[in-house]
């Protein structure tokens, strides 16, 4: 049963991996569609992109990566039986997730104030869909991190960190594709 043993070698929950792969497929398809539609109107997309806050998004990237580091440390600390440190790291990771959402929220509020919505231009349709869907995952991730800081079994923390790294990874792909590539 070679296929079964391959799956058994995966660290953590199998279902979490199914979820991660599914999420990457969705975001990947979304980004491919975005780049495909951009080919039809490069100038319009570049103009629309110039309305984005690149600095805020870059700062948010640093926030999420730091948060991901804390989540990874938490699992390590839990495994060496430093429960309190692991809990603090998870709460810290969740708080950075909240910081990300606040910065993202001010960006959305600014767009709304300028009257930019998902019907303004196809660029913004994808902008709101992709970053909005990602922000929903950040919100869910904050909840999961707080949950596993409470029920802090090492397996739980591992599953939470897996999910959080996926959210990280998606942002690291979204940031250059949506904010930087022209």
């Amino acid at each position: 049963m070679s296929d079964a043993s391959l799956i058994d070698e995966l660290p953590g929950e199998l279902l979490m991996w199914v979820l991660i792969v599914s999420e990457l497929l969705v975001f990947g398809a979304g980004m491919i569609a975005f780049m495909g539609v951009r080919l039809t109107d490069p100038a319009g997309f570049a103009e629309a992109q110039s309305h984005l806050h690149r600095t805020g998004a870059a700062f948010n990237t640093a926030v999420l990566v730091t948060s991901g580091y804390l989540a990874a440390q938490a699992l390590h600390w839990r495994q060496v039986a430093r429960r309190a440190a692991a809990r603090m790291a998870l709460i810290g990771a969740a708080l950075l997730g909240v910081v990300f959402l606040i910065i993202k929220g001010t960006e959305y509020a600014d767009k709304m104030a300028q009257g930019i919505n998902y019907e303004t231009h196809p660029f913004f349709l994808f902008y709101y869909l992709l970053t909005g869907f990602h922000a929903a995952h950040v919100l869910a991730g904050v909840g999961i991190l707080l949950l596993v800081s409470w029920r802090d079994d090492a397996r739980n923390i591992e599953a939470g960190a897996q999910f959080w790294h996926m959210v990280d990874l998606v942002w690291i792909m979204l940031f250059p594709v949506i904010y930087l590539l022209g």
Partner: protein, 455 residues
């Protein structure tokens, strides 16, 4: 049969098979009207025939699911059904409701009456009193099977089956909400139809398939359960937001075009996984179960569901494609093979497995049953190809060139004739299936000596 109350399934399967025959005969009639449009046009108009064809399909499939649940839950939970009396009462309510629907549709009784008349909505046109009856029957059912499982052994198969059946019943409640705004009506309407067949029904399908694989191949329960959870996760992940592929052109915001396209494209994954699951289990399995016909239907179910629901669904699910193909015969091709593969074959698989046990007629005539599989399947696959080609021509003439609808219909009449022919084959296959289940008493070919009997 280990538990006396499994007998309940017998009554459910019998009614389901009777409705199955009515459904395919209705389909044949509709196919005839396509090529001979004035046939019975005063007595039984096409829209009524179509309603009977689709409603009878849904009702007999659900009766089959109920029967399957009553058959497999006692074995899985290792105890008798909580109340067999309630189970029969539930069946009586459903039969009365079904008869009421057929009479109301056919003779257009109580036109416009809020309680007794039909509602004029596609697929949810049942009169209110029937809808209420369905809810009462569903509540009885859920109470009955949930009590059985709660008091008995809980397995992954019963957990997923119950999750699917609870979802089926709860989502039906959206059928009561009928807003005046047609776009909103359609939006909620899909909460029932889509979230059934591309959501919770897939859970029912996966759990019944898992049960059949467990019994027919003898693979370890642990392996089956791991597959089951992965399939269910993939089905719900893609299926729920996949609803968006019905929201392209009904007046909902444009972002649904991308949400629907992306998520519904992933709906092929659980169907592929179910096909892979069925075949891997058979390869790994060491048991040579004598009921070869049930295995044939199970493998056929997983394979045809992948092609009908997965491949033919993907064919026109991207909104750029659907812009042209929407509502053409491409849709009909997909609809026929998807329902046949995923849910008709599934039901016929569990009937084929359970009926010889329920009738104490094991082993029984498998040759006729397997013949009916090939007859029905080849008819249905031929129909799918014919409608796909016809739909492609229709899409080009009507949507690309811009010819008039009825002119195009005349041009593709040859495809409708071939569809009618394949429909005849499907009906013959269905009649042969019912005959093979109910009539012959002896096995035509004795099982070989090398075969080991099931436990």
């Amino acid at each position: 049969m280990k538990y006396e109350s499994q007998k309940i399934a017998y009554a459910y399967f019998a009614v389901a098979m009777a409705l199955f025959v009515i459904q395919v005969l209705g389909g044949l009639l509709a196919g005839l009207i396509y090529v001979s449009p004035n046939f019975l046009s005063e007595l039984l108009p096409f829209n009524i025939v179509r309603m009977l064809h689709t409603n009878a399909l849904i009702v007999w499939l659900i009766l089959g699911f109920f029967g399957a649940a009553y058959f497999l839950i006692p074995e899985e939970a290792e105890r008798e059904i909580h109340s067999p009396k309630l189970a029969y009462l539930q069946l009586i309510i459903l039969v009365v409701g079904t008869l009421g629907v057929v009479l109301t549709y056919t003779f257009n009784l109580f036109e416009g009456n809020w309680l007794l008349g039909k509602e004029g909505r596609e697929f949810l046109e049942q009169p209110k009193w029937v809808k209420a009856g369905i809810v009462v029957a569903a509540l009885i059912f859920l109470y009955n099977v949930s009590m059985t499982v709660l008091k008995g052994k809980k397995t992954a198969i019963t957990n997923i089956l119950l999750l699917g059946l609870w979802g089926l019943a709860l989502l039906f409640l959206f059928a009561f909400y009928n807003p005046g705004n047609l776009a909103l009506d359609k939006q909620y309407w899909w909460y029932v139809v889509h979230l059934w067949v591309e959501g919770v029904w897939e859970l029912i399908m996966a759990s019944i398939l898992a049960y059949l694989m467990l019994k027919l191949t003898g693979v370890d329960r642990e392996v089956v359960e791991k597959w089951l959870y992965v399939i269910v996760a993939a089905a719900l992940f893609s299926g729920i937001l996949g609803t968006g592929h019905h929201y392209y052109w009904i007046g909902t915001p444009a972002y649904w075009q991308w949400i629907g396209s992306i998520f519904s494209s992933l709906e092929v994954i659980p169907f592929f996984a179910m096909m892979a699951f069925a075949f891997v289990m058979v390869w790994k399995g060491r048991r040579d179960h004598p009921n070869k016909a049930a295995l044939l239907w199970s493998l056929g179910c997983a394979t045809l569901a992948f092609f009908g629901a997965g491949v033919w669904g993907f064919l026109h699910t991207l909104h750029g494609v659907n812009y042209y193909t929407h509502g053409t015969q491409i849709t009909a091709a997909h609809g026929h093979l998807a329902f046949y593969g995923a849910y008709v074959c599934l039901n016929l698989a569990i009937f084929t497995y359970a009926m010889p046990i329920l009738k104490n007629r094991d082993p029984y005539n498998q040759v006729l049953n397997m013949g009916s599989f090939w007859l029905m399947t080849s008819g249905m696959v031929f129909m799918t190809f014919v409608l796909t080609f016809g739909g492609t021509v229709q899409t080009h003439m009507q949507r690309v060139i811009g010819d008039y609808f009825m002119d195009v219909q005349d041009q593709i009449a040859i495809f409708y004739w071939m569809r009618f022919g394949s429909g005849v084959v499907v009906v013959l296959g269905a009649l042969l299936f019912v005959y093979s289940i109910w009539v012959p008493r002896k096995e035509v070919i004795e099982p070989g000596a090398a075969e080991t009997p099931a436990e």
